[in-house]
């Protein structure tokens, strides 16, 4: 799998496109092809995920918010987001406690990008959704329960 992926990247059109873009200064290859945090995405429990993200004992913070509805009609598509009012927020992540793998996504925010990212996630069942935020070398967290009337992992 990994070998195959590398081959495609080396020789396929994907690499050519990325290479061209990098050459044109459109993207910094180091960031575009940053290593996907396999350990964090494959961790199952919240605790293991936080550990893989290097976020031991994040502090609860009122300056962090999980945005999203109280109830989702369908777990396949649940609009959620993270906002942080903590100055110097450089990373936000969305974690779903009851999903098979807790981590849904993480976002690195370069200077100038607001700590306000919205996306849509799959939820297998009603669960607490966590926003994890990094500012400086500290982690902060907030949570919101989102009820799901129909789970989104069975298809």
């Amino acid at each position: 799998m990994n070998n195959q992926r590398r081959n495609v990247l080396k020789t396929g059109t994907g690499a050519a496109v990325l290479g061209a873009l990098a050459a044109a200064g459109m993207i910094a290859p180091g960031i575009a092809l940053a290593d996907w945090n396999k350990a964090a995405f494959e961790a199952k429990s919240m605790a293991d995920t936080l550990k893989a993200l290097g976020a031991t004992q994040p502090a609860d913070s009122k300056d962090v918010q999980v945005t999203g509805p109280d109830i989702a009609e369908n777990g396949a598509v649940v609009p959620v987001g993270v906002t942080s009012a903590i100055a110097g927020t450089t990373m936000v992540a969305i974690l779903i406690d009851k999903n098979p793998n807790a981590l849904a996504a993480s976002f690195k925010l370069p200077e100038g990008t607001e700590a306000n990212v919205q996306t849509r996630v799959k939820m297998g069942q009603t669960s607490n959704v966590y926003a994890l935020v990094k500012a400086g070398d500290k982690f902060y967290m907030a949570t919101k329960e989102i009820k799901v009337t129909l789970g989104g992992c069975g298809g």
Binding site: Q4, R5, R6, N7, V8, L9, G12, G14, A15, V17, L18, L21, A24, G25, M26, I27, A28, I31, A32, L33, A34, W36, N37, F41, A76, V77, V78, P79, G81, I96, N99, P100, N101, L103, A104, A105, S106, F107, K108, L109, P110, G112, T113, E114, N116, V117, Q118, T119, R120, V121, K122, M123, G152, C153, G154, G155
Partner: protein, 104 residues
């Protein structure tokens, strides 16, 4: 497998640019089974980067819990009408795609 174009919308107001993107992708979890009971292999975007005039404004990592045809909205300071916002994604099969849009 040909990739499909994204829909990127970017607009600027009071010095802040808001980007909204829809990305065509299956985002298969690897947890579903087909009609014959065989597991459908995971197929999902792992990394997505957005840039404004060549400068990275968002670097994301996705897991399988991001919905099919992902949606993303975020804001960054700066940006003027006509500037280019580009989004590049890469999936776990090594496919990548880049699309760009002008700030409206």
């Amino acid at each position: 497998m040909a990739t499909k174009p994204m829909r990127i919308r970017a607009s600027t107001k009071d010095g802040v640019t808001e980007v909204k993107a829809l990305i065509a992708h299956e985002m298969e979890t690897g947890q579903r089974k087909d009609a014959n009971g065989a597991v459908i292999p995971a197929w999902f975007i792992t990394e997505l980067t957005a840039s404004h005039n060549g400068k990275v404004v968002l670097a994301s990592e996705f897991g399988t819990a991001i919905s099919k045809n992902p949606y993303l909205a975020f804001k960054f300071k700066g940006g003027a009408a006509g500037d280019k916002v580009a989004i590049t994604w890469k999936d776990n099969k090594g496919e990548t795609r880049t699309d760009e849009a002008a700030i409206g």
